[in-house]
């Protein structure tokens, strides 16, 4: 219980500039285990930059970024060694790219894509790896007969589901998602959203989901952060921010959703 009360990820006033251009300015957040945070805003608002900063794919210029490891130790991500960061990335974290090709190895089989992350954790037994990979493919609704095919032969929706399986096979505690449903047909999107929603709840995952789609944020997240010009302008409970937005920009966003 004591660990459950402490945040998993904490950012204090983190900032990033690209030359004279502001990427992110003074963003603070805490994420607890089992919590899903949506970061919304239009293109150029800094939301993808924030995701890259939180996952330390980009270095912060200022501020503090802490992560609570599996052993309970709280570590400063900015000063963590590269080897340890890579290990964290391969095991305790997941990163789902909008373009699945960036998160998959397109020339190796689906089974190998999933198995590779297990091997990073030390799994060596071929049969076990294959069984686990098959289980995961089924969980993300990919027929087991497609296990030896490369993702090149997969549809966009299947690739995205494979990318999710590859990320979740190591039981990460924290998953970063960058527009996970972007660029997919609506029917494919609905299936994927339903899948993500179920997995996040079943596995008790924490997630930071970047999306420009407020419906995705409403469906998947507990809390929401609205970004504009690199800054957080409003944050709170997802349904509260969407149903009773306070800031002019959030009101504009919330009122711009087309009713179906």
């Amino acid at each position: 219980m004591s660990a459950a009360g402490k945040p998993l990820l904490t950012a204090d006033n983190i900032s990033k500039r690209y030359g004279r251009q502001v990427g992110c300015r003074d963003v603070s957040l805490t994420l607890h285990e089992g919590e899903v945070l949506a970061v919304v805003g239009e293109s150029g608002s800094g939301k993808t930059t924030l995701l890259k900063l939180l996952s330390r794919q980009l270095a912060i210029d200022s501020g503090r970024l802490n992560y609570r490891m599996r052993d309970g130790a709280v570590r400063d991500l900015a000063t963590m060694g590269d080897a340890e960061h890579r290990f964290l990335f391969r095991t305790d974290w997941g990163y789902v790219h909008q373009d699945a090709a960036q998160g998959l190895r397109m020339s190796v089989s689906a089974g190998a894509n999933v198995g590779e992350r297990l091997m990073a954790l030390g799994a060596r037994h071929y049969g076990t790896i294959r069984t686990t990979a098959t289980d995961w493919l089924e969980r993300v609704e990919i027929p087991a007969v497609r296990i030896d095919d490369t993702p090149v032969t997969y549809s966009g929706g299947m690739r995205q589901r494979l990318q999710i399986a590859r990320n979740l096979v190591t039981s990460p505690r924290l998953v970063f998602m960058d527009e996970p449903t972007g660029g997919l047909d609506v029917t494919v999107q609905a299936r994927l959203l339903d899948l993500i929603r179920g997995l996040v709840a079943d596995l008790g995952l924490s997630a930071v989901i970047v999306t420009h789609d407020l419906a995705v944020a409403r469906l998947l997240s507990h809390r929401i952060m609205v970004m504009k010009d690199g800054e957080v302008i409003e944050t709170g409970l997802t349904d509260q921010v969407l149903d009773d937005p306070r800031e002019p920009y959030t009101q504009l966003l919330a009122s711009s959703i087309l009713p179906v």
Partner: protein, 227 residues
């Protein structure tokens, strides 16, 4: 007399519409009432008086500008008006239930799963409750997006009534139901009350209100009060 489980003190809210040049619309002002376990309090008053807004503020869906919304929860008292998002989520998970006016259908999620929730431990109970509300078995596996208004509302009611939570907020639960299903809802409310659940309801139907209300609080539109 037991302690109240829910207390509103001087609750006020004004909407500021920035897209309409900062137009300020007062929603409610100085609302004060308390509800005890086993009591059903009905908010009465004309449409637009802010009754639904009060329920949404109690649930934490709308912000509260001033005043207090105290809920007894897990041995402590939480002020929803000031609670952090995580506290509100915890409150919803174990204390506060809410039946909204309209069901928000989720693509691909079957009616029974809408009721039982994503974890699905309550599936059998969900089926039983759907049957009681006359949602036929062949609809249980179908996503409710294509259901009629009345069917959607009954799915919504089942979802709100299934968990055993000490406070239940009902926003016009019988608005699009026929007499037979209205009677089921009245029965369900009576059962909740017997189990000590405190209920705050917005009900326009006089018959239903007379059947469930222990206390009636009159909410008048702010414009007429100001005049």
């Amino acid at each position: 007399m037991s302690q109240p489980i829910l207390e509103l003190a001087d609750v006020s809210k004004t909407f500021t519409l920035h897209l309409q040049g900062g137009l300020r619309l007062p929603a409610v002002s100085d609302v004060t009432f308390s509800v005890h376990p086993g009591e059903c309090l009905v908010l009465a008053g004309p449409s637009g008086a802010g009754k639904s807004s009060i329920l949404k503020m109690i649930y934490g869906n709308y912000r509260c500008d001033s005043g207090r919304i105290l809920v007894r929860h897990d041995g402590t008292t939480v002020d929803v008006a000031r609670a952090a998002p995580r506290e509100i989520l915890a409150l919803r998970a174990s204390t506060l239930g809410y039946v909204s006016q309209f069901l928000r259908a989720i693509p691909r999620v079957a009616a029974v799963d809408v009721v039982a929730g994503v974890q699905g431990e309550m599936r059998d109970a969900a089926v039983t409750l759907l049957r009681r509300l006359n949602v036929s078995d062949r609809l249980h596996a179908v996503p409710p997006a294509t259901f009629s208004g009345g069917e959607q509302q009954r799915v919504n009611i089942a979802r709100g009534f299934l968990p055993d939570l000490p406070v239940l907020l009902l926003d016009e639960p019988t608005a699009s139901l026929d007499a037979r299903n209205r009677a089921v809802v009245v029965e369900l409310v009576a059962e909740k009350k017997r189990r000590g659940v405190a209920i705050v309801a917005v009900v326009h139907d006089d018959e239903v209100r007379a059947a469930i209300a222990d206390t009636i609080v009159d909410i008048q539109p702010l414009t007429s009060r100001a005049a």
